[in-house]
């Protein structure tokens, strides 16, 4: 026990006594680990942000979008028939989530006058599929369908246009048209470019305004057809795609065209893996260069210290102790450099304007923190370089002839 303590104390003493030399040799390792850790961390964070941004629009892995229309009239299928067919499909194939989305426009009465706003009419489970994370309030629930006042979820620009700071005043907004209705804002999401207003509404509800809107030719003109989105296991995507096409068109009487295709970002994992590989390759090269610097200085100093090593032998130092001391000195030093480098990398990455760099300045709802993996990797790399660079000097130290070393 005290043997181990003694070895550590000895190594630390060396580092302390030869501060400037150690410092010099560590600049390379510091820079290498700093660069590698920063780049790895950034790469991982960028990849994660990209993945999240992509999933927000395309859905999670694996999302299959299904559209159905009458090839002659171009009209979507009748609501009840479609609902029944989908319900049966979901049950039969054990599909986790089936969401619907339709794009349309809603006329909101804002303080400055009536304003048409891009509106996504979605089912409540659309939020799960697209990782929607409200920054305030909540996302839709099934119960919202029964609500007397339609629930809406808007973005921050919408709130600003409405002249409302947040949801504390339980803000409402009037949806104009033939049959105006007062809608309640239940949640706020961080979405849209610059001043663009975004609103979400429930796809279908029990309210009379919906039935009216559905037959309103004005709405029908702006509103696109409803898309069904299925969240299915990634390895069953192809099977589901084929089955859904077949089953749905059969269930709807064979008259309708049914199309199904995968929409979630694919190949993202491979891209990230490639990115990490490239970063690791570059980092390894820089680290090897830094390690060579440490090795070089280690070799020079071990020769200078042969006499000192001989003297320590006269104190009863075993070969093991001599080896461990020289090795540990190298490891202690590079580990310290690694620690500082990882710290510096964390400071750098934390202070980078990631939202501006990655997302055109649009706030990212949940910005990932500094990846622990990158920090751990940096520390391991620094320590490993120290061990490798310390190996040769340690062998030389052990093989030095004591009597020659202490001879004057």
């Amino acid at each position: 026990m005290t043997g181990i303590l003694g070895t550590l104390a000895e190594a630390w003493d060396e580092v302390r006594v030869h501060k400037s030399r150690v410092l010099l040799s560590l600049v390379g390792v510091f820079l290498a680990v700093f660069a590698m850790t920063s780049v790895t961390a950034l790469g991982l964070m960028v990849a994660q942000v990209q993945q999240e941004l992509a999933e927000r629009s395309g859905g999670r892995a694996a999302t299959v979008a299904v559209n159905a229309w009458d090839p002659v009239t171009g009209m979507p299928p009748a609501g009840e028939a479609w609902d029944a067919a989908v319900a049966e499909l979901v049950q039969r194939y054990d599909i986790a989530t089936a969401a619907t989305i339709a794009y349309g426009e809603t006329r909101f009465r804002m303080p400055g006058g009536t304003m048409p706003v891009q509106t996504r009419r979605v089912s409540p489970n659309y939020g799960d599929l697209h990782r929607v994370e409200p920054i305030e309030g909540r996302w839709f629930r099934e119960g919202d369908r029964e609500s007397l006042s339609p629930s809406i979820v808007v973005n921050e620009a919408f709130l600003t246009a409405l002249g409302v700071p947040d949801l504390s005043s339980r803000p409402t907004v009037v949806i104009g048209g033939a049959d105006p209705v007062r809608a309640t804002i239940v949640g706020v999401v961080r979405e849209g470019y610059a001043e663009e207003l975004v609103a979400y509404r429930i796809d279908r509800s029990a309210g009379p305004w919906d039935a009216a809107a559905a037959v309103d030719p004005a709405t029908a003109m702006y509103g696109g057809p409803s898309t069904l989105e299925l969240w299915v296991p990634a390895d069953q995507t192809d099977l589901v795609t084929e089955t859904v096409k077949h089953d749905l068109s059969l269930a709807l009487g064979g008259e309708l065209q049914v199309d199904a295709y995968r929409t979630d970002p694919q190949g993202a994992e491979e891209t990230i893996a490639m990115l990490r590989l490239a970063i690791r390759g570059a980092g390894t090269v820089v680290l090897v260069l830094g390690g060579l610097g440490v090795l070089n200085i280690g070799l020079v100093t071990v020769r200078q210290r042969i006499r000192e090593i001989g003297v320590r032998r006269s104190f009863g130092a075993t070969s093991g102790r001599i080896f461990a001391a020289v090795m540990l000195e190298s490891v202690c030093a590079t580990a310290l450099a690694g620690l500082l480098a990882v710290g510096a990398a964390i400071v750098l990455v934390r202070n980078l304007p990631l939202e501006r760099l990655l997302n055109n300045g649009i706030p990212i709802a949940d910005l990932p923190g500094f990846p622990v993996a990158a920090a751990v990797e940096g520390m391991i790399a620094a320590t490993a370089v120290g061990a490798l660079a310390g190996l040769l000097p340690a062998i030389i130290a052990v093989r030095a002839k004591v009597i020659d070393a202490i001879r004057f």
Partner: protein, 242 residues
Amino acid sequence: MSLLELRGISREVRLPDESVLPILTGVDLDVAPGEHVAIVGRSGSGKSTLLNLLGLLDTPTSGSYLLDGEPTDRLSARRRSRLRGEVFGFVFQQFNLLPRRTAAENVAAPLLYARGRDYLRRRSTAREMLDRVGLGARADQVPERLSGGEQQRVAIARALVRAPRVVLADEPTGALDVETGAQVMALLAQATAENGAALVTITHDLSVAALAGRRFRLERGHLSPLVEAGALGAATSDRGPA
């Protein structure tokens, strides 16, 4: 029983041209616990080689070396290192203090290789030792700022810090002026005696050798008792009670 026992020790080195150079031939020597032995010889006579053999830093080409009656030729490298640290303390001509470490750190250094209490209490033990050699006030000085005499006193403190049973001093006054050398030698003899350790001093200076209970001459690798004209009587009387 002898503490150290050399029987027919020879040491040869093989030179780069494949010829063999004998350094020591047929050396017999006994050192009893606590006694002071001096070995006198000219430069190049093999004194340091003999001392290195005694201190387990080197191995003989032939002959037997018993430490506490145990043959040393079968010891593992690890055991030799351990024994070296526990049994011997070294004092070198060139002091060999660790550069850029304070006097206290130098004296504590051998205790880095000790275990348990000795290891844990190394700092306070080192300071006590420095007090004993009269350098308590200079404990935090680095060797570069100490005089030669002071450096050798630090080395003496360091040699004694693990309470060795034998102190091996290789020309301890060789790098000092005569007066300082005499003071340092007196301190070495006294401190070793206080510790109850045996002292083997190697020197080419007869006045240094005069402090020893028994004296030998090493000449071209042969060790023989030292017989000095006029000093014979003193040498014989020294041997008695020691």
